[in-house]
């Protein structure tokens, strides 16, 4: 395939993916907007109003970046995991496997789909937060970089999950038992400086802490961890996950007998 053909093939996968999540927007775009509105209302407005400021910002303002990042992570992950696994389940993945597409294009297409859903949902939740507070945006470029890198990392994670999964149950295990606890314990609702020193050290093992804090730095210029470390970690994860996914697809894991 020449470059133009590759571009057409890539854009076909992206188009199909975007069409899929937009067609079922009540299951993909609307739920995060509603769920995060409840978080803003309950944690931010009702409980948050009784709490003191963290790092010079109100509790409501503090949780906005965390909740937006949580949305980006969950949606980019679940978009690729459910779409790719559903293709495997219905065997429509064979449409790609019998075509001259390379695995690099398949990965790029699905990851772009996850990235777009992650960003769209993140932007929707950010817009919802405007009903409650007007968060400061200190470094918009950094916010965008973190959104994109985080979406790519978790979209790749979703793909890895879908490649290995043998049933729909296995698609739910990782987000429920690993992603959700890591997100909640990743500094979305609190600063790790409020924890005892031991738990601060333990928290620093959690990769999501770096995402949330890096993202929050883009808004208020405050972070529990180094921004350079956060970006370096994200890029490292992307490189490792790209190679891992490509290795598995080339081997035909979960797809070819």
């Amino acid at each position: 395939m020449n470059f133009s053909e590759k571009l057409i093939a890539y854009s076909t996968i992206v188009r199909k993916e975007v069409h899929r999540f937009m067609r079922i927007w009540t299951q993909t775009i609307l739920p995060p907007a509603i769920t995060q509105s409840l978080y803003f209302l309950i944690f931010g407005k009702f409980i948050g109003s009784q709490l003191r400021d963290i790092g010079g910002v109100s509790y409501m303002a503090f949780i906005v970046p965390g909740l937006v990042m949580m949305t980006v992570i969950n949606n980019s992950f679940s978009n690729v995991a459910s779409s790719f696994f559903s293709s495997k389940f219905q065997r429509s993945i064979e449409e790609l496997l019998v075509s001259p597409l390379t695995n690099v294009i398949i990965v790029a297409g699905y990851i772009t789909g996850g990235l777009l859903r992650g960003i769209i949902c993140g932007v929707v939740v950010f817009c919802v937060s405007m009903f409650f507070i007007h968060p400061t945006v200190m470094y918009p470029g950094l916010i965008l970089i973190f959104m994109i890198l985080a979406s790519i990392v978790f979209a790749l994670g979703g793909l890895l999950n879908a490649i290995y999964a043998k049933s729909f149950d296995e698609i739910g295990i990782f987000p429920m038992f690993i992603l959700l606890p890591l997100t909640y314990l990743g500094g979305v609702f609190y600063s790790i400086h409020t924890l005892p020193v031991f738990w601060q050290t333990v928290s620093k093992i959690n990769p999501i802490l770096y995402l949330v804090n890096g993202f929050r730095f883009g808004f208020y210029g405050i972070s529990d961890v180094s921004i350079n470390v956060s970006i370096a970690m994200l890029i490292t994860f992307i490189i490792v996950l790209v190679f891992l996914n490509l290795y598995l697809l080339n081997k035909g894991t979960g797809l070819k007998s």
């Binding site: 057409i8 449409e95 790609l96 019998v98 001259p100 070819k256 007998s257």
Partner: protein
Amino acid sequence: MNAITIKNLKKIYATGIEALKGINLDVKEGDFCALLGANGAGKTTVIGILTGLVIKSSGEVKVFDYDIDIRHTAARKMIGVVPQEMNFNMFEKVKDIVINQAGYFGIRRSVAEKDCEQILKELQLWDKRDTASRQLSGGMKRRLMIARALINHPKILILDEPTAGVDVELRHSMWEYLRKINQQGTTILLTTHYLEEVEQMCRHAAFIKNGEIFAYDSVKRLIKQIDMETYVVHVEKISGLNQLAHYNVIALDEHTFEAEITKGAKLNDFILKVGKAGMIVTDLRPKGNRMEKLFLNILKQ
């Protein structure tokens, strides 16, 4: 030129099952070839390897001289595949399924839209273009898979039991369509359980059993191997059938029986013997299942 060249192809699945034990097969460009065998013989594995869905254990496979390992992109551009089971997204519309498939082959959307319209019209699916695929009937789903396989204008069309579970009328219209595209130059390789299909359409047939091809020849020559022809005989009333035992007769009902007659034997002699047995022949016709007979003979060997 060979459209498909298979040399010493072996496949051992992770479960330890040896599905292919070193098969060799050459399909000439423009041929209409059948791959025949019982369930589990290895037909779908051959097709899976050709189309990239199954990883071969060893051997060489070429599609128009493109080795599927070295030039897999070029090889796949040559192939359109119609699988045995439905394998499209049930929620996508007919038109989207076909146009997306063109996209995966790098075909521009504007070109794909025109081609899609033409193919869907030829396969009488144009009226259903905006229907979700899950709402199609079984026959329409089969035709959709053919339309999707043809959108990249393949030089080889591979069909895995395309008429399984399809009604007689649709089967015949599919035969007609496949004959037409074969006449236009597309090489066709199909697997089927309908041996009448092979006799009607195919020029060559390969018999596969336990992962080995043990007969591969032109359909005409294969049929010549059969020394017996089965006839269906209608009589006013069956009587004295035991006098015709050497014809391996089987009574079907009170007025009909089947008899095996050696090729080249005089039918007149047979009719006279039926008369001597006390029966009056009202109709006599060949059963037309010669491939089936051959298939069963070969399987028994």
